[in-house]
Symmetry: C2
Subunit: 241 residues, 2 copies
């Protein structure tokens, strides 16, 4: 399993992903699920991936290969939503190839992606690309997108994320969302990658990598846990208490 979240704020974008992949509890590995494409000066593109690792690797490899070998690629497509469509088509093609090859059900080959970034002169955006290849955009009213093991980490996002908050506040919230997912699902695990992107800069503002022993990750997670304990102890009592 995997957990990735992207947040689209007025101030920019936040991306956060875990690094654990598992094909069963006896086959656990570490793979980055945050892919940065920054090969053209007029754009900044980040892709988060979840699902079948063979599919997501094949998709990112083809994206890289198209950059040098195809006219239609991440550097030449003029709008971010068209790039989402291009990634979705590629994902569908890879899934169908693999499913045909193995005669397995294509559901096994499924992958989801979050595409975010900005092209100069356009607004920054984020899209969730479904296994079927179609996609939806983050909006002011629904500023975050999630893929993978999404539910454990959703309540904190529902509470805290508004499109007007700062990149740093959203970044901390993404990390707490990841923390909740890691506690409740063993197949989500560190290292955690976090990228903050300030709108109109066309390059990552902060690109952070937290292993399990990282002092800031431990301080954040510890402060949250201790604070929750205190808060919980102070809640209003039932009338008979």
């Amino acid at each position: 399993m995997t957990y990735c979240v992207a947040i689209r704020l007025e101030a920019g974008l936040v991306f956060c992903s875990d690094s654990r992949t598992s094909a069963g509890v006896d086959d656990v590995s570490v793979y980055s699920k945050m892919h940065r494409f920054q090969t053209a000066p007029d754009r900044m593109i980040v892709l988060l991936s979840a699902g079948n690792l063979a599919t997501t690797q094949a998709v990112t490899t083809r994206l890289e290969r198209d950059l040098v070998g195809a006219e239609h690629n991440l550097n030449t497509i003029p709008h971010l939503d068209e790039i989402a469509r291009y990634v979705g088509e590629l994902s569908q093609r890879v899934q169908n190839d693999f499913a045909g090859q193995s005669e397995q059900s294509s559901g096994m080959m499924e992958a989801s992606f979050i595409l975010g970034g900005q092209i100069r002169g356009q607004v920054h955006e984020a899209f969730l690309i479904y296994p079927q290849g179609n996609y939806i955009a983050a909006s002011r009213a629904k500023p975050f997108l999630q893929i993978g093991e999404t539910k454990y980490g959703k309540p904190i996002l529902d509470r805290m994320i508004r499109s007007g908050i700062t990149l740093e506040r959203a970044g901390r919230c993404a990390m707490l969302s990841m923390d909740a997912s890691m506690r409740s699902n063993l197949s989500v695990g560190p290292p955690i990658e976090l990228m903050l992107y300030e709108a109109d800069t066309l390059k990552p503002s902060q690109s952070l990598y937290f292993d399990a022993e990282n002092p800031y990750l431990k301080a954040l997670s510890g402060a949250w846990a201790d604070g929750l304990d205190r808060l919980f102890a102070e809640l209003p009592r039932f009338d008979w208490e």
Copy 2:
């Protein structure tokens, strides 16, 4: 959807359930999912239900009917785990009946239950009964059981529930778990029912019913939300802030 949770503490048992059922967003109703059976003086039995409403209603109806018409019933079965088996068998039978009747896939008819309670002279226990009819018990290391829309409400339980805490503390935690589920999934909704059972009393200690406007529910939910906001604002900053 539905969300129910039961917590088995050293001090006793806590049961909490929502009351929303939906067969599509245009077909939402209110049904209690907490069924109390207290017909024999030597035992206290509570059943929480999730899944297909026709199945769960048929199961509870047959449990009631067996109380007067069958030798093998909730009042006569000597151990709680055997009652779990009896409920599981009944559930399987109802699911198969309905599936055969409609020629629909039996997956549509599935239901899950949490059975909890105590029989005099035995320890209090809680069991999760799967749609397949088999069941597992809550334990000291895993004191809570959930059915229905379980994931949004799990992180708070993972953090706060230990088998040595008080019934009241666990009751508040169950309500916050319910609050998280209601915020993140529209198909989980009030009224909320909460029952606290003190071990060895063989009757409910507190049986509470909270509609959306209930003052305690609003105070609890508000105190938690405000406290989370304050806590979040005080978290350690990134080093460049």
